[in-house]
């Protein structure tokens, strides 16, 4: 239920049994079904979600009703609307389960109490935020400076296990392109191999 959560934690910061028990007491576990929402736009995002099993996505919806996918999160990944979580302003993103999933969630209050009570948790949170920032910088830079072919290659490299689990139109949405263009890129890359 928390196996991957703590394995992921220990990879970055080692924990004693007592520290693990303390952190566990602040976590919540939740099972969700495919197509269930964890967060809806305009609602305040009250938790950070870790995926123990399954697959989630976050996305915004534009004025024309088109979806724009910001992030996918499979086993071992975190997902949230950090802007809303930190500021308590309405969320920009929706978070939806793409598969039946098992999650570990931490609420804002629990997160803040743990930051106070558990220095290891604070270190871990800092690493997590730094990683998220770096990932964001890379994604932003790729969007403004790299070709679609390069970006698709990066996506497949970053998400090797889940490329097969995500419908093509969602990958296209994540890349900011159309399914038709993505399909041309895939054909081209396959023929170059």
């Amino acid at each position: 239920m928390y196996d991957i959560y703590f394995a992921n934690f220990r990879k970055r910061v080692p924990l004693t049994y007592e520290e693990e028990a303390l952190i566990k007491s602040y976590l919540s576990v939740k099972k969700v079904r495919k197509r269930q929402f964890l967060l809806q736009e305009y609602d305040v995002c009250r938790s950070v979600i870790f995926v123990e099993h399954g697959l989630l996505r976050s996305f915004s919806v534009d004025a024309n009703g088109s979806e724009h996918i910001a992030q996918f999160a499979a086993e071992g990944w975190y997902i949230s609307d950090l802007f809303s979580f930190l500021t308590e302003e309405p969320a920009t993103f929706n978070i939806e389960a793409l598969e039946n999933s098992e999650l570990v969630t931490i609420s804002k209050l629990a997160h803040e109490e743990l930051l106070e009570k558990c220095p290891k948790y604070e270190i871990f949170s800092r690493i997590l935020l730094t990683d998220a920032y770096v990932a964001l910088q890379q994604r932003m830079n790729a969007n403004i400076s790299k070709s679609l072919d390069e970006r698709y290659a990066t996506f497949v490299a970053n998400y090797p296990d889940i490329t097969q689990r995500i419908p093509q139109h969602m990958i296209a949405s994540y890349m900011g392109t159309t399914p038709e263009t993505l399909s041309r890129i895939r054909r081209r890359m396959a023929s170059e191999k």
């Binding site: 939740k30 969700v32 929402f37 967060l39 609602d43 969630t105």
Partner: protein
Amino acid sequence: MNATQTIAIIGASGNMGGAIAKSLVKGNYNLLLQASQNEKVTGLVSELVAINPKASVEAIDCSFEASWEADIIILAVPYTAEKEIAEKIKEVANQKIVISISNPLNETFDGLLTTELSAAEELQLLLPNAKVIKAFNTTFQANLTTPVIKGEMVDAFVAGNDEAAIETVSDLVKTAGFTPIVAGDLTVSRTLEQMQLLLIKLTIKNNYNWHAGWRILLDN
């Protein structure tokens, strides 16, 4: 629009569990009706879908699985069964709202089985990392079906230690058709449980028809 919350009603085959399910089915909730055997709640599931065809309602036989999926857990089991259930769901109830509706009545309905602590506080000790909220214990089953008596909306008292959880449960109580009254922290459950004992004793003594309820009269 909020993401739909999932409510697990543990012991949905009982009178109170079924009545609570019916009073919540018009709200924006996914309802998981837990009973030891699914057959015991299949009738209830069809009744609920008849009330609200769009409702998301499902029978489930395992209290652990139901609580794992839930955001809010309603323990609609007798006081004497709470300990066993609490042990089963402890791990998946962490940081979740658990609603204690029970009154720890003795077999003759003229006293309480608890001594110092209320049933709600005992439950909080059994589930130390859950947010236990007392609610729906001062309402009879008939109130849930008809929360208005002679034109007056029945009050429903809510007690607990977590502010956000109290707010969520107050919304739920409103959805069920009652006026939520936040009575205080979880220790106030002692009074709330005594209040219902009194109402039960009076109902028996004075032959009220089990459709009596509490209402604070206000001059404004």
